[in-house]
Amino acid sequence: MSSRDDPDPARLRELHEAVVAGEDPTAPAKMAELLLPALLRRFASARLPDPHSVESLIGLSVARYLAEPERYQPERGPLLAYLWQDVAGDLRNEWDARVRLRQHESPGSDVVELGSDDRNLSVEEEVLDAVDRFDVSSAILQRARDELGQFSEQDRQLIELLGAGVRDTGPYAEVLGIAHLPSSAQAREVNRHKDRLRKRLGVIRGKLSRPE
Protein backbone atom coordinates (compact mmCIF):
# COMPACT_ATOMS: atom_id res chain seq x y z
CA MET A 1 0.00 0.00 0.00
CA SER A 2 1.20 3.46 -0.59
CA SER A 3 -0.36 6.63 0.66
CA ARG A 4 -0.16 7.91 -2.91
CA ASP A 5 -3.03 5.55 -3.87
CA ASP A 6 -5.15 6.50 -0.90
CA PRO A 7 -8.15 8.75 -1.33
CA ASP A 8 -7.63 12.39 -0.52
CA PRO A 9 -8.28 12.81 3.23
CA ALA A 10 -10.05 16.11 2.59
CA ARG A 11 -12.39 14.35 0.16
CA LEU A 12 -13.07 11.62 2.74
CA ARG A 13 -13.88 14.23 5.38
CA GLU A 14 -16.18 16.05 2.97
CA LEU A 15 -17.98 12.82 2.05
CA HIS A 16 -18.21 11.75 5.69
CA GLU A 17 -19.96 15.01 6.47
CA ALA A 18 -22.30 14.45 3.51
CA VAL A 19 -23.08 10.90 4.68
CA VAL A 20 -23.86 12.13 8.18
CA ALA A 21 -25.98 15.01 6.88
CA GLY A 22 -28.03 12.59 4.76
CA GLU A 23 -28.89 15.19 2.13
CA ASP A 24 -27.09 13.71 -0.88
CA PRO A 25 -28.46 10.19 -1.54
CA THR A 26 -25.34 9.31 -3.54
CA ALA A 27 -22.87 10.21 -0.79
CA PRO A 28 -22.86 6.66 0.71
CA ALA A 29 -22.13 5.16 -2.70
CA LYS A 30 -19.37 7.68 -3.45
CA MET A 31 -17.84 6.98 -0.06
CA ALA A 32 -18.01 3.20 -0.57
CA GLU A 33 -16.30 3.58 -3.95
CA LEU A 34 -13.36 5.30 -2.28
CA LEU A 35 -13.16 3.14 0.84
CA LEU A 36 -13.48 -0.35 -0.58
CA PRO A 37 -10.45 -0.30 -2.92
CA ALA A 38 -8.34 1.57 -0.36
CA LEU A 39 -9.07 -1.02 2.33
CA LEU A 40 -8.57 -3.92 -0.06
CA ARG A 41 -5.15 -2.51 -0.99
CA ARG A 42 -4.18 -2.20 2.64
CA PHE A 43 -5.24 -5.69 3.59
CA ALA A 44 -3.61 -7.10 0.48
CA SER A 45 -0.25 -6.12 1.94
CA ALA A 46 -0.99 -7.43 5.44
CA ARG A 47 -0.11 -10.84 6.84
CA LEU A 48 -3.55 -12.18 7.69
CA PRO A 49 -4.92 -15.24 9.45
CA ASP A 50 -7.57 -15.64 6.77
CA PRO A 51 -7.14 -13.65 3.56
CA HIS A 52 -10.29 -15.19 2.08
CA SER A 53 -12.62 -13.53 4.58
CA VAL A 54 -11.14 -10.11 4.10
CA GLU A 55 -13.18 -8.94 1.14
CA SER A 56 -16.55 -9.72 2.69
CA LEU A 57 -15.49 -8.38 6.08
CA ILE A 58 -14.38 -5.13 4.46
CA GLY A 59 -17.77 -4.89 2.75
CA LEU A 60 -19.55 -5.51 6.05
CA SER A 61 -17.44 -2.97 7.86
CA VAL A 62 -18.08 -0.27 5.26
CA ALA A 63 -21.80 -1.12 5.32
CA ARG A 64 -21.84 -0.80 9.13
CA TYR A 65 -20.13 2.56 8.90
CA LEU A 66 -22.57 3.80 6.25
CA ALA A 67 -25.54 2.64 8.31
CA GLU A 68 -24.29 4.49 11.40
CA PRO A 69 -21.74 7.05 10.26
CA GLU A 70 -21.98 8.95 13.56
CA ARG A 71 -20.09 6.14 15.27
CA TYR A 72 -16.91 7.30 13.59
CA GLN A 73 -15.47 10.37 15.31
CA PRO A 74 -13.11 12.23 12.97
CA GLU A 75 -11.19 13.85 15.82
CA ARG A 76 -10.02 10.42 17.00
CA GLY A 77 -8.19 9.52 13.79
CA PRO A 78 -8.48 8.98 10.06
CA LEU A 79 -11.50 7.12 8.71
CA LEU A 80 -9.39 4.51 6.93
CA ALA A 81 -7.59 3.67 10.16
CA TYR A 82 -10.93 3.41 11.97
CA LEU A 83 -12.27 0.99 9.36
CA TRP A 84 -9.00 -0.91 9.31
CA GLN A 85 -9.37 -1.63 13.00
CA ASP A 86 -12.99 -2.60 12.55
CA VAL A 87 -12.12 -5.15 9.86
CA ALA A 88 -9.12 -6.38 11.83
CA GLY A 89 -11.38 -6.92 14.84
CA ASP A 90 -13.79 -8.95 12.75
CA LEU A 91 -10.93 -11.00 11.38
CA ARG A 92 -9.71 -11.76 14.88
CA ASN A 93 -13.18 -12.74 16.02
CA GLU A 94 -13.60 -15.03 13.07
CA TRP A 95 -10.21 -16.57 13.66
CA ASP A 96 -10.95 -17.07 17.35
CA ALA A 97 -14.22 -18.77 16.50
CA ARG A 98 -12.38 -21.17 14.22
CA VAL A 99 -9.76 -21.89 16.84
CA ARG A 100 -12.45 -22.56 19.43
CA LEU A 101 -14.24 -24.86 17.00
CA ARG A 102 -11.02 -26.72 16.29
CA GLN A 103 -10.31 -27.10 19.98
CA HIS A 104 -13.85 -28.29 20.55
CA GLU A 105 -13.57 -30.85 17.76
CA SER A 106 -10.23 -32.22 18.95
CA PRO A 107 -9.80 -31.32 22.60
CA GLY A 108 -6.28 -31.41 23.95
CA SER A 109 -4.64 -30.92 20.61
CA ASP A 110 -3.81 -28.04 18.36
CA VAL A 111 -3.62 -25.49 21.14
CA VAL A 112 -2.33 -22.23 19.79
CA GLU A 113 0.78 -21.09 21.58
CA LEU A 114 1.23 -17.57 22.75
CA GLY A 115 3.27 -15.70 20.20
CA SER A 116 2.89 -18.44 17.63
CA ASP A 117 3.16 -17.29 14.03
CA ASP A 118 -0.07 -19.17 13.29
CA ARG A 119 -2.04 -16.15 14.30
CA ASN A 120 -1.54 -12.46 14.04
CA LEU A 121 -3.83 -11.17 16.73
CA SER A 122 -3.26 -7.77 18.14
CA VAL A 123 -0.59 -7.57 20.77
CA GLU A 124 -3.20 -6.35 23.21
CA GLU A 125 -5.28 -9.43 22.72
CA GLU A 126 -2.26 -11.70 22.94
CA VAL A 127 -1.58 -10.31 26.37
CA LEU A 128 -5.11 -10.89 27.55
CA ASP A 129 -5.20 -14.32 25.96
CA ALA A 130 -2.10 -15.25 27.85
CA VAL A 131 -3.74 -14.32 31.10
CA ASP A 132 -6.87 -16.27 30.30
CA ARG A 133 -4.97 -19.29 29.06
CA PHE A 134 -3.03 -19.74 32.26
CA ASP A 135 -6.21 -19.32 34.18
CA VAL A 136 -4.77 -16.81 36.57
CA SER A 137 -6.83 -14.94 39.08
CA SER A 138 -9.28 -12.27 38.16
CA ALA A 139 -7.02 -9.80 39.95
CA ILE A 140 -4.28 -10.36 37.39
CA LEU A 141 -6.79 -10.11 34.61
CA GLN A 142 -7.85 -6.78 36.00
CA ARG A 143 -4.24 -5.65 36.25
CA ALA A 144 -3.74 -6.48 32.61
CA ARG A 145 -6.76 -4.48 31.66
CA ASP A 146 -5.61 -1.56 33.78
CA GLU A 147 -2.20 -1.58 32.11
CA LEU A 148 -3.72 -1.72 28.67
CA GLY A 149 -6.15 1.03 29.56
CA GLN A 150 -3.22 3.37 29.96
CA PHE A 151 -2.37 3.32 26.27
CA SER A 152 -3.41 6.41 24.35
CA GLU A 153 -5.97 6.03 21.59
CA GLN A 154 -3.20 6.51 19.04
CA ASP A 155 -1.11 3.77 20.65
CA ARG A 156 -4.07 1.43 20.69
CA GLN A 157 -4.54 1.98 16.97
CA LEU A 158 -0.86 1.26 16.36
CA ILE A 159 -1.06 -1.90 18.47
CA GLU A 160 -4.02 -3.05 16.42
CA LEU A 161 -1.97 -2.65 13.27
CA LEU A 162 0.96 -4.52 14.83
CA GLY A 163 -1.32 -7.30 15.94
CA ALA A 164 -2.82 -7.63 12.48
CA GLY A 165 0.66 -8.09 11.07
CA VAL A 166 0.70 -4.95 8.98
CA ARG A 167 4.20 -4.39 7.64
CA ASP A 168 3.55 -1.41 5.42
CA THR A 169 4.52 1.96 6.79
CA GLY A 170 1.50 3.76 5.34
CA PRO A 171 -1.22 2.76 7.88
CA TYR A 172 1.07 3.50 10.80
CA ALA A 173 2.04 6.84 9.28
CA GLU A 174 -1.59 7.71 8.84
CA VAL A 175 -2.42 6.93 12.46
CA LEU A 176 0.57 9.00 13.52
CA GLY A 177 -0.54 11.83 11.26
CA ILE A 178 2.77 11.88 9.38
CA ALA A 179 1.58 10.60 5.99
CA HIS A 180 2.60 13.91 4.46
CA LEU A 181 6.31 13.43 5.36
CA PRO A 182 8.88 11.89 2.98
CA SER A 183 8.83 8.06 3.10
CA SER A 184 12.24 7.81 4.78
CA ALA A 185 11.08 10.09 7.59
CA GLN A 186 7.81 8.16 7.89
CA ALA A 187 9.68 4.83 8.13
CA ARG A 188 12.05 6.19 10.77
CA GLU A 189 9.27 7.55 12.93
CA VAL A 190 7.08 4.47 12.52
CA ASN A 191 9.92 2.15 13.53
CA ARG A 192 10.58 4.28 16.58
CA HIS A 193 6.94 3.96 17.68
CA LYS A 194 6.85 0.22 16.96
CA ASP A 195 9.94 -0.36 19.07
CA ARG A 196 8.55 1.75 21.86
CA LEU A 197 5.27 -0.15 21.91
CA ARG A 198 6.92 -3.58 21.72
CA LYS A 199 9.08 -2.71 24.71
CA ARG A 200 6.13 -1.45 26.67
CA LEU A 201 4.11 -4.56 25.90
CA GLY A 202 7.05 -6.69 26.93
CA VAL A 203 7.13 -4.92 30.28
CA ILE A 204 3.41 -5.57 30.75
CA ARG A 205 3.83 -9.23 29.92
CA GLY A 206 6.63 -9.42 32.45
CA LYS A 207 4.51 -7.83 35.16
CA LEU A 208 1.64 -10.20 34.52
CA SER A 209 3.84 -13.28 34.67
CA ARG A 210 5.05 -12.33 38.14
CA PRO A 211 3.05 -13.39 41.20
CA GLU A 212 0.80 -10.80 42.78
Binding site: G22, D24, P25, T26, A27, P28, A29, K30, A32, E33
Partner: protein
Amino acid sequence: MAGWLSATPDGERRIQASLKMSDASLHRLLVCRAPRPNRFLADVSTIAAYVGVERTALAAALREATVLAALGSREMSRSEEADDGLVGLLAAARDTAAEQLPDSEAATAVRELAQSTWQAAPPEVRDRRDVQAALVWASPVAVVSLPQLQFAMVNRWLVDRGAPPLPDSIGDLRGLLVAWRSQAVIFVDGTLPEADFRLTLAHEHGHLLLDYLVPRQRVLREEPALLEVLDGRRRPTNADRARAALARAPLGLHTHLLHRHNDGGAAETTIRVEDSASSYALELLAPWEELLTLLRGQPQPQPVSYPKRLAAAAEAAADHFNLPPDAAEVRARAGLTALGIRPGFFNR
Protein backbone atom coordinates in the same frame (compact mmCIF):
# COMPACT_ATOMS: atom_id res chain seq x y z
CA MET B 1 -31.26 1.18 -1.52
CA ALA B 2 -30.20 -2.44 -1.08
CA GLY B 3 -32.33 -2.77 2.05
CA TRP B 4 -35.13 -0.81 0.46
CA LEU B 5 -35.23 -3.02 -2.64
CA SER B 6 -34.99 -6.21 -0.60
CA ALA B 7 -38.64 -5.72 0.39
CA THR B 8 -39.63 -6.27 -3.23
CA PRO B 9 -39.63 -9.86 -4.49
CA ASP B 10 -36.66 -10.17 -6.86
CA GLY B 11 -36.30 -6.39 -6.62
CA GLU B 12 -32.65 -6.02 -7.60
CA ARG B 13 -32.89 -8.19 -10.69
CA ARG B 14 -36.09 -6.53 -11.86
CA ILE B 15 -34.75 -3.00 -11.54
CA GLN B 16 -31.52 -3.96 -13.28
CA ALA B 17 -33.44 -5.49 -16.16
CA SER B 18 -35.96 -2.68 -16.50
CA LEU B 19 -33.25 0.00 -16.55
CA LYS B 20 -30.78 -2.12 -18.55
CA MET B 21 -28.12 -1.37 -15.97
CA SER B 22 -24.64 -2.86 -15.85
CA ASP B 23 -23.60 -4.71 -12.69
CA ALA B 24 -21.41 -1.74 -11.76
CA SER B 25 -24.32 0.70 -12.06
CA LEU B 26 -26.56 -1.61 -10.04
CA HIS B 27 -23.96 -1.81 -7.27
CA ARG B 28 -23.69 1.98 -7.25
CA LEU B 29 -27.47 2.23 -7.00
CA LEU B 30 -27.65 -0.28 -4.17
CA VAL B 31 -25.28 1.73 -2.00
CA CYS B 32 -27.21 4.98 -2.49
CA ARG B 33 -29.62 6.12 0.18
CA ALA B 34 -33.27 5.60 -0.69
CA PRO B 35 -34.99 8.75 -2.00
CA ARG B 36 -36.98 10.68 0.57
CA PRO B 37 -40.71 10.91 -0.27
CA ASN B 38 -40.76 14.68 0.24
CA ARG B 39 -37.63 15.15 -1.91
CA PHE B 40 -38.40 12.49 -4.48
CA LEU B 41 -37.63 14.59 -7.57
CA ALA B 42 -34.35 15.97 -6.23
CA ASP B 43 -33.11 12.68 -4.79
CA VAL B 44 -34.05 10.52 -7.76
CA SER B 45 -32.51 13.05 -10.16
CA THR B 46 -29.24 12.98 -8.19
CA ILE B 47 -29.17 9.19 -8.04
CA ALA B 48 -30.04 8.85 -11.74
CA ALA B 49 -27.18 11.14 -12.75
CA TYR B 50 -24.81 9.19 -10.53
CA VAL B 51 -25.71 5.72 -11.81
CA GLY B 52 -26.14 6.88 -15.40
CA VAL B 53 -29.81 6.22 -16.10
CA GLU B 54 -32.63 8.47 -17.25
CA ARG B 55 -34.32 9.98 -14.22
CA THR B 56 -37.94 9.37 -15.18
CA ALA B 57 -37.14 5.73 -15.99
CA LEU B 58 -35.53 5.37 -12.57
CA ALA B 59 -38.49 7.04 -10.88
CA ALA B 60 -40.88 4.64 -12.61
CA ALA B 61 -38.79 1.59 -11.68
CA LEU B 62 -38.59 2.69 -8.06
CA ARG B 63 -42.33 3.31 -7.92
CA GLU B 64 -42.98 -0.16 -9.28
CA ALA B 65 -40.60 -1.75 -6.78
CA THR B 66 -42.32 0.10 -3.94
CA VAL B 67 -45.83 -0.82 -4.91
CA LEU B 68 -44.84 -4.46 -5.37
CA ALA B 69 -43.34 -4.47 -1.89
CA ALA B 70 -46.60 -3.03 -0.52
CA LEU B 71 -48.84 -5.40 -2.44
CA GLY B 72 -46.62 -8.31 -1.43
CA SER B 73 -47.46 -7.51 2.18
CA ARG B 74 -51.12 -8.24 1.35
CA GLU B 75 -50.15 -11.89 1.25
CA MET B 76 -49.39 -11.79 4.94
CA SER B 77 -52.60 -10.04 5.90
CA ARG B 78 -54.97 -12.02 3.71
CA SER B 79 -55.95 -14.32 6.51
CA GLU B 80 -57.18 -11.30 8.43
CA GLU B 81 -59.32 -10.01 5.57
CA ALA B 82 -62.98 -9.75 6.26
CA ASP B 83 -65.53 -11.76 4.36
CA ASP B 84 -67.22 -8.60 3.17
CA GLY B 85 -64.29 -7.39 1.12
CA LEU B 86 -60.71 -6.30 1.25
CA VAL B 87 -60.40 -3.79 4.02
CA GLY B 88 -57.81 -1.21 3.09
CA LEU B 89 -57.62 -2.02 -0.60
CA LEU B 90 -58.89 0.49 -3.13
CA ALA B 91 -59.65 -0.87 -6.54
CA ALA B 92 -61.23 1.48 -9.05
CA ALA B 93 -61.83 0.49 -12.63
CA ARG B 94 -62.58 2.39 -15.81
CA ASP B 95 -64.41 -0.10 -17.96
CA THR B 96 -65.17 -0.02 -21.65
CA ALA B 97 -68.79 1.07 -21.19
CA ALA B 98 -69.58 4.58 -22.48
CA GLU B 99 -69.33 7.21 -19.79
CA GLN B 100 -70.52 10.75 -19.40
CA LEU B 101 -67.83 13.34 -18.87
CA PRO B 102 -68.50 16.34 -16.60
CA ASP B 103 -69.08 19.45 -18.73
CA SER B 104 -68.35 22.12 -16.16
CA GLU B 105 -65.27 23.77 -14.75
CA ALA B 106 -63.59 21.64 -12.09
CA ALA B 107 -63.77 22.66 -8.46
CA THR B 108 -60.87 24.72 -7.18
CA ALA B 109 -59.51 21.86 -5.09
CA VAL B 110 -59.45 19.57 -8.12
CA ARG B 111 -57.72 22.23 -10.22
CA GLU B 112 -55.09 22.67 -7.53
CA LEU B 113 -54.50 18.93 -7.39
CA ALA B 114 -53.99 18.83 -11.15
CA GLN B 115 -51.59 21.79 -10.98
CA SER B 116 -49.58 20.17 -8.20
CA THR B 117 -49.26 16.99 -10.26
CA TRP B 118 -47.54 18.91 -13.06
CA GLN B 119 -45.46 20.93 -10.63
CA ALA B 120 -44.03 17.76 -9.08
CA ALA B 121 -42.59 16.70 -12.44
CA PRO B 122 -39.30 17.88 -13.93
CA PRO B 123 -39.45 20.55 -16.67
CA GLU B 124 -38.85 18.16 -19.56
CA VAL B 125 -41.89 16.10 -18.52
CA ARG B 126 -44.07 19.21 -18.29
CA ASP B 127 -42.83 20.48 -21.64
CA ARG B 128 -43.80 17.33 -23.49
CA ARG B 129 -47.05 16.95 -21.47
CA ASP B 130 -46.04 13.41 -20.57
CA VAL B 131 -48.92 12.40 -18.30
CA GLN B 132 -47.55 8.98 -17.44
CA ALA B 133 -44.22 10.43 -16.29
CA ALA B 134 -45.94 13.23 -14.39
CA LEU B 135 -48.04 10.78 -12.39
CA VAL B 136 -45.00 8.75 -11.45
CA TRP B 137 -43.16 11.84 -10.22
CA ALA B 138 -46.15 13.25 -8.37
CA SER B 139 -47.54 10.22 -6.55
CA PRO B 140 -46.53 6.86 -5.15
CA VAL B 141 -47.88 5.10 -8.21
CA ALA B 142 -46.57 2.72 -10.85
CA VAL B 143 -48.07 2.57 -14.32
CA VAL B 144 -48.36 -0.79 -16.08
CA SER B 145 -49.51 -1.09 -19.66
CA LEU B 146 -50.95 -4.50 -20.54
CA PRO B 147 -52.31 -5.75 -23.85
CA GLN B 148 -56.04 -6.47 -23.44
CA LEU B 149 -56.67 -5.31 -19.93
CA GLN B 150 -58.61 -8.05 -18.21
CA PHE B 151 -58.70 -9.11 -14.59
CA ALA B 152 -57.00 -12.40 -15.42
CA MET B 153 -54.06 -10.56 -16.98
CA VAL B 154 -53.80 -8.15 -14.08
CA ASN B 155 -53.79 -11.03 -11.64
CA ARG B 156 -51.16 -12.88 -13.65
CA TRP B 157 -48.97 -9.75 -13.60
CA LEU B 158 -49.40 -9.47 -9.83
CA VAL B 159 -48.78 -13.13 -9.09
CA ASP B 160 -45.69 -13.22 -11.34
CA ARG B 161 -44.26 -10.49 -9.15
CA GLY B 162 -45.03 -12.05 -5.81
CA ALA B 163 -48.25 -10.16 -5.05
CA PRO B 164 -51.57 -11.89 -4.34
CA PRO B 165 -54.30 -11.69 -7.00
CA LEU B 166 -57.39 -9.47 -6.73
CA PRO B 167 -60.51 -11.38 -5.76
CA ASP B 168 -63.04 -9.16 -7.56
CA SER B 169 -63.78 -9.30 -11.25
CA ILE B 170 -65.54 -7.27 -13.90
CA GLY B 171 -65.44 -7.34 -17.67
CA ASP B 172 -62.99 -5.76 -20.10
CA LEU B 173 -61.30 -2.66 -18.78
CA ARG B 174 -59.54 0.41 -20.04
CA GLY B 175 -57.91 1.17 -16.72
CA LEU B 176 -57.68 -0.22 -13.22
CA LEU B 177 -56.28 1.34 -10.08
CA VAL B 178 -55.16 -0.81 -7.17
CA ALA B 179 -54.01 0.98 -4.02
CA TRP B 180 -52.75 -0.55 -0.81
CA ARG B 181 -50.97 1.00 2.16
CA SER B 182 -50.34 4.33 0.40
CA GLN B 183 -48.84 2.73 -2.72
CA ALA B 184 -50.69 2.24 -5.99
CA VAL B 185 -50.49 0.74 -9.42
CA ILE B 186 -52.50 1.83 -12.45
CA PHE B 187 -53.05 -0.79 -15.12
CA VAL B 188 -53.96 0.52 -18.57
CA ASP B 189 -55.01 -1.15 -21.77
CA GLY B 190 -51.90 -0.70 -23.89
CA THR B 191 -53.85 -1.02 -27.14
CA LEU B 192 -55.81 2.19 -26.57
CA PRO B 193 -55.16 5.12 -28.91
CA GLU B 194 -52.73 7.54 -27.29
CA ALA B 195 -55.35 10.14 -26.39
CA ASP B 196 -57.58 7.52 -24.72
CA PHE B 197 -54.57 6.04 -22.97
CA ARG B 198 -53.72 9.45 -21.49
CA LEU B 199 -57.31 10.12 -20.44
CA THR B 200 -57.57 6.72 -18.77
CA LEU B 201 -54.34 7.27 -16.88
CA ALA B 202 -55.43 10.70 -15.73
CA HIS B 203 -58.83 9.34 -14.69
CA GLU B 204 -57.33 6.57 -12.56
CA HIS B 205 -54.91 9.03 -11.04
CA GLY B 206 -57.91 11.12 -10.11
CA HIS B 207 -59.29 8.13 -8.19
CA LEU B 208 -55.97 7.67 -6.46
CA LEU B 209 -55.86 11.26 -5.29
CA LEU B 210 -59.51 11.96 -4.58
CA ASP B 211 -60.63 8.60 -3.22
CA TYR B 212 -57.49 7.36 -1.55
CA LEU B 213 -54.59 9.72 -0.87
CA VAL B 214 -56.57 12.84 0.08
CA PRO B 215 -58.88 10.98 2.53
CA ARG B 216 -55.83 9.17 3.85
CA GLN B 217 -54.09 12.47 4.53
CA ARG B 218 -57.20 13.71 6.32
CA VAL B 219 -57.17 10.60 8.51
CA LEU B 220 -53.48 11.05 9.24
CA ARG B 221 -54.17 14.63 10.28
CA GLU B 222 -57.37 14.13 12.25
CA GLU B 223 -57.53 10.50 13.37
CA PRO B 224 -54.10 8.89 12.95
CA ALA B 225 -55.17 5.85 14.93
CA LEU B 226 -57.57 4.96 12.11
CA LEU B 227 -54.71 4.45 9.71
CA GLU B 228 -54.34 0.89 10.91
CA VAL B 229 -57.90 0.24 9.82
CA LEU B 230 -57.48 2.03 6.48
CA ASP B 231 -54.35 -0.01 5.82
CA GLY B 232 -56.13 -3.25 6.61
CA ARG B 233 -53.93 -4.01 9.60
CA ARG B 234 -56.98 -4.57 11.79
CA ARG B 235 -60.74 -4.66 11.42
CA PRO B 236 -62.74 -1.57 12.37
CA THR B 237 -64.49 -1.47 15.73
CA ASN B 238 -67.68 0.47 16.37
CA ALA B 239 -65.59 3.21 17.98
CA ASP B 240 -63.45 3.37 14.84
CA ARG B 241 -66.56 3.81 12.72
CA ALA B 242 -67.75 6.67 14.91
CA ARG B 243 -64.38 8.38 14.80
CA ALA B 244 -64.20 7.90 11.05
CA ALA B 245 -67.58 9.57 10.62
CA LEU B 246 -66.42 12.56 12.68
CA ALA B 247 -63.22 12.80 10.65
CA ARG B 248 -65.22 12.59 7.40
CA ALA B 249 -63.17 9.57 6.43
CA PRO B 250 -65.64 6.86 5.55
CA LEU B 251 -63.91 3.55 6.10
CA GLY B 252 -65.88 1.88 3.34
CA LEU B 253 -64.45 4.26 0.79
CA HIS B 254 -61.25 2.34 0.70
CA THR B 255 -62.78 -1.00 0.02
CA HIS B 256 -63.68 -0.94 -3.61
CA LEU B 257 -65.40 1.03 -6.29
CA LEU B 258 -66.08 -1.69 -8.77
CA HIS B 259 -69.67 -2.39 -7.92
CA ARG B 260 -72.25 -2.20 -10.63
CA HIS B 261 -75.93 -3.05 -10.59
CA ASN B 262 -77.05 -6.35 -11.96
CA ASP B 263 -78.17 -4.58 -15.15
CA GLY B 264 -74.59 -3.42 -15.73
CA GLY B 265 -75.18 0.20 -14.72
CA ALA B 266 -72.97 1.83 -12.17
CA ALA B 267 -74.05 2.28 -8.57
CA GLU B 268 -74.84 5.88 -7.51
CA THR B 269 -71.75 6.23 -5.34
CA THR B 270 -69.68 4.89 -8.20
CA ILE B 271 -71.11 7.51 -10.58
CA ARG B 272 -70.25 10.29 -8.12
CA VAL B 273 -66.63 9.27 -7.72
CA GLU B 274 -66.30 8.59 -11.43
CA ASP B 275 -67.45 12.16 -12.13
CA SER B 276 -64.84 13.57 -9.79
CA ALA B 277 -62.11 11.43 -11.29
CA SER B 278 -63.09 12.50 -14.82
CA SER B 279 -63.20 16.13 -13.76
CA TYR B 280 -59.64 15.81 -12.45
CA ALA B 281 -58.55 14.01 -15.61
CA LEU B 282 -59.84 16.80 -17.86
CA GLU B 283 -58.22 19.42 -15.69
CA LEU B 284 -54.90 17.55 -15.76
CA LEU B 285 -54.91 17.06 -19.52
CA ALA B 286 -56.41 20.40 -20.49
CA PRO B 287 -55.78 22.90 -17.67
CA TRP B 288 -58.60 25.41 -17.45
CA GLU B 289 -56.62 28.62 -17.89
CA GLU B 290 -54.66 27.17 -20.81
CA LEU B 291 -57.92 26.04 -22.38
CA LEU B 292 -59.46 29.51 -22.11
CA THR B 293 -56.32 31.09 -23.58
CA LEU B 294 -56.48 28.64 -26.47
CA LEU B 295 -60.16 29.29 -27.13
CA ARG B 296 -59.75 33.06 -26.94
CA GLY B 297 -57.12 32.86 -29.65
CA GLN B 298 -59.27 30.79 -32.00
CA PRO B 299 -60.37 32.52 -35.24
CA GLN B 300 -64.13 32.74 -35.58
CA PRO B 301 -65.46 30.44 -38.30
CA GLN B 302 -67.58 32.16 -40.96
CA PRO B 303 -70.51 32.26 -40.98
CA VAL B 304 -70.58 32.30 -37.17
CA SER B 305 -72.71 29.57 -35.67
CA TYR B 306 -72.48 27.82 -32.34
CA PRO B 307 -72.15 24.29 -33.73
CA LYS B 308 -69.30 25.44 -35.98
CA ARG B 309 -67.58 27.32 -33.16
CA LEU B 310 -67.93 24.30 -30.90
CA ALA B 311 -66.58 21.95 -33.57
CA ALA B 312 -63.61 24.24 -34.23
CA ALA B 313 -62.94 24.67 -30.51
CA ALA B 314 -63.17 20.92 -29.90
CA GLU B 315 -60.75 20.23 -32.75
CA ALA B 316 -58.31 22.80 -31.41
CA ALA B 317 -58.54 21.34 -27.89
CA ALA B 318 -58.08 17.80 -29.19
CA ASP B 319 -54.98 18.85 -31.14
CA HIS B 320 -53.47 21.05 -28.49
CA PHE B 321 -54.08 18.83 -25.46
CA ASN B 322 -54.10 15.43 -27.21
CA LEU B 323 -57.64 14.66 -26.00
CA PRO B 324 -60.04 12.05 -27.38
CA PRO B 325 -62.78 13.70 -29.51
CA ASP B 326 -65.60 13.26 -26.94
CA ALA B 327 -63.49 14.67 -24.11
CA ALA B 328 -62.31 17.53 -26.31
CA GLU B 329 -65.89 18.46 -27.15
CA VAL B 330 -66.99 18.39 -23.50
CA ARG B 331 -64.01 20.52 -22.52
CA ALA B 332 -64.51 22.94 -25.42
CA ARG B 333 -68.19 23.40 -24.56
CA ALA B 334 -67.35 24.20 -20.95
CA GLY B 335 -64.68 26.66 -22.08
CA LEU B 336 -66.94 28.43 -24.57
CA THR B 337 -69.64 28.74 -21.91
CA ALA B 338 -67.13 30.34 -19.54
CA LEU B 339 -66.28 32.83 -22.32
CA GLY B 340 -69.97 33.66 -22.69
CA ILE B 341 -70.41 31.73 -25.93
CA ARG B 342 -73.55 29.63 -25.62
CA PRO B 343 -75.77 27.79 -28.07
CA GLY B 344 -78.53 29.92 -29.53
CA PHE B 345 -82.17 29.11 -28.99
CA PHE B 346 -82.36 26.79 -31.98
CA ASN B 347 -79.12 25.01 -31.14
CA ARG B 348 -80.18 24.00 -27.65
